[in-house]
Symmetry: C2
Subunit: 322 residues, 2 copies
């Protein structure tokens, strides 16, 4: 049974699809600008559960996951469309009102214009397809394929929070009765914040050589960069920033690391930078909010996990659709 | 309970969405070109049934309904994306292969580049969101709002075929054992042909004052034009082109008319033309393939249905999602 990734790889080869393989497709807009565009399908009982979230949080997440893809290209989001299918039983409730209201709030926050969409009936479950387009200077979209041996690897925030939130939800914890630390983790899962500002800054500064957003999990997403760039990577275990609230969830070092390395949906940015540029990167970003977690190697598609005294191979274990 | 149309109207007002209300959103591309873009959600057991169709036909229809929206703007389709969700039980079959194969064939036929998409798991049903973008000269997208009293009303083909095909499928007729006339009607339902070439010609000639594709049905779609243009219309019953094979389905004149006036999904183009341009329209289109069915009036939002000696009011009765 092929995975989603293998299936898409097959399609890419079979139909010679040159624009597939990044967070967004890159298309020419005008003489100075490229358009980047992404579509993300969210399905009830696969990507969210109505009992665990709210219509507002679904509206926010639908737009945020696509904004995160735009950020990962170093682009500025410009417009959005949404297709939504809902069962008849929800049509008479305020579900759609709440959903759209939050979707509009998020679009306003990030200066994204709502330009269209589709609404349809479904037999029993909610489904949302979110489409967002962004703009970036011609030829300057930051791809997965630009990492070079010697480049340093960074992430924008702490990892494992969203996966920990999912664990809590699966264990029966609900937002309305959650403790403060649980709420923080659950919100990481249900209410992600796309790194729009950092994405725009990086598009302008052209600082990263490669970039991706952390949707599948660090081990999988770093593997995507390595594959597209035909390089390897070395990750220093002690440098991986584990979300602080995970300490309240588990004391096990292995479990915490597993959440940070393989947990999906943190929607932070993972990027690589030529070491010669680090001085400028530090100067441009006050209080340096990024975590240096490793470096790119020439050892194609091998990701080494380095801890004191030993080296292991990090296999992609993040979220798989199948 | 608001209809889908009413719900969208409310959104439009509430959030001052100026780009919503046509078949596509119109966005500036460069100094000479506008981008038009559409998204269409197709849901299993609402828009199609797996037992009635094939993966190839779903692939074709998903792209064709969006191409029809592009044609209705007078635009040339340029690129497409697709998001698809399928249940695990279909992942191991050739469903996706067959679906994509046909989708690629149709995209090639109409010179549309596939630029991306998303694949996701669903609990039990197939869902497809089709996104297509097109290009048209700046300011020359043909809108629903341009019809003026005195304009003549045309459709590109015969009507009611797709609704008749649906009736046959609902009555238990299946493609594999259908008679020839039944097959023709069922294919109108399952295998629509978007009027891409005519759409492009009309964008270039700027012949129509207003245009829409017949997805909901003539009575509903003409009402959309009347509403956006703040005009009325007069339809001559005897001029409505009823699909010829419907004669084999029913001898009832009322039933045939009902299928042609209210049946959805024919994906023909409905357009209005200033009578002063008719001579040029006839000259530009050999064997004049269009059917003149009526005229635009100043009687805002009232559609009169004229038959020998009497006038009735035509209410929108086409396909409603809710």
């Amino acid at each position: 049974m092929p995975t989603e990734f293998e299936f898409i790889e097959n399609l890419r080869k079979k139909f010679a699809l040159k624009r597939i393989g990044d967070d967004c497709a890159v298309l020419p807009k005008d003489s100075k600008t490229d358009l980047v565009i992404t579509t993300d399908l969210l399905v009830e009982d696969v990507d969210f559960r109505l009992a665990w979230t709210t219509p507002e949080l679904i509206g926010n997440k639908a737009l945020s996951v696509s904004l995160s893809d735009i950020a990962a290209m170093g682009a500025r989001p410009v417009w959005a469309m949404i297709s939504i299918g809902i069962p008849e039983k929800l049509w008479d409730t305020d579900f759609l009102d709440m959903f759209y209201q939050e979707w509009f709030i998020v679009s306003k926050k990030f200066d994204v214009e709502i330009v269209g969409g589709d609404i349809s009936k479904t037999p029993d479950r909610v489904v949302v397809d979110s489409i967002v387009a962004g703009e970036v200077a011609k030829g300057e979209a930051i791809l997965r394929s630009g990492a070079r041996p010697g480049d340093l690897i960074f992430v924008t925030g702490e990892l494992g929070g969203a996966a920990s939130g999912l664990k809590l939800l699966e264990g029966g914890v609900r937002l309305e009765s959650a403790k403060s630390w649980q709420k923080t983790l659950i919100y990481k899962q249900l209410n992600p914040t796309p790194q729009v500002k950092t994405g725009i800054q990086f598009g302008e500064s052209q600082m990263p050589s490669a970039m991706i957003d952390l949707s599948d999990g660090l081990s999988s997403d770093l593997a995507h960069i390595c594959r597209e760039s035909r390089v390897g990577a070395r990750v220093f275990v002690d440098k991986v920033p584990i979300h602080k609230k995970i300490n309240s969830l588990t004391k096990s070092r292995d479990e915490k690391l597993d959440l940070a390395l393989n947990g999906g949906e943190d929607f932070e940015l993972l990027f690589t930078v030529d070491p010669k540029k680090i001085f400028v990167l530090e100067k441009e970003h006050q209080n340096f909010p990024f975590h240096h977690i490793g470096e790119i190697t020439a050892n194609a598609e091998i990701i080494e996990l380095i801890s004191t005294g030993k080296t292991a191979i990090l296999e992609p274990k993040g979220y798989r659709h199948f």
